[in-house]
Symmetry: C2
Subunit: 109 residues, 2 copies
């Protein structure tokens, strides 16, 4: 088997690691559904606070914070302080990159 790593393998494997935890995947899916920016990226409704994201997951705030850090560091989400809370939303380019990653793998190109 010849080397089949490209320059992005490391980056993609880090995104997959971020999504390999069920709590992080759930957060990611929630953000993808509710907080995908675009036409209304400045609208408060398009973003979710750390506290909001923690609701219903049954884990400590410090753990949520840890998970969000992982999602951010892998390039899947963005975070920005807004007053007392910190707002989170999906990094839109990365979602498209992931689709292309698997389409290319499927195409065998």
């Amino acid at each position: 088997m010849s080397k089949y790593k490209n320059d992005y393998s490391k980056q993609f494997s880090e995104m997959f690691k971020a999504l390999s935890n069920e709590h992080r995947l759930e957060i990611f899916l929630y953000l993808a559904k509710n907080c995908f920016p675009g036409e209304l990226s400045t609208d408060k409704e398009m973003r979710a606070s750390v506290g909001k994201l923690g609701e219903g997951l049954g884990i400590a705030p410090s753990t949520i914070s840890h998970h969000l850090k992982e999602l951010r560091q892998s390039g899947l989400i963005r975070m920005e302080r807004k007053g007392k809370t910190i707002e989170c939303w999906i990094e839109p380019d990365t979602l498209e990159d992931l689709i292309q990653f698997f389409q290319q793998a499927k195409g065998g190109k």
Copy 2:
């Protein structure tokens, strides 16, 4: 944040875990490129042995074996003994599932 897990979250998080390791991702990409079944699924060239997949990765055969088991258990690849060797190939449906997973996430549906 409301629960956003669906019935498949667990299964997807396991695939992402399998792809979170650089060695496994490399194996997966190699198989996707070279061993995607279809019109020639019985052709020897469409499959790769465990030994072949280990070449050039610089890790022990037992470790390759471990990684392939993870890829198989997560549903990303298939394996079948053929004489002395064990042949590996991509599970084609799963690749399409992954594309749809991210397309759906992007669509916000």
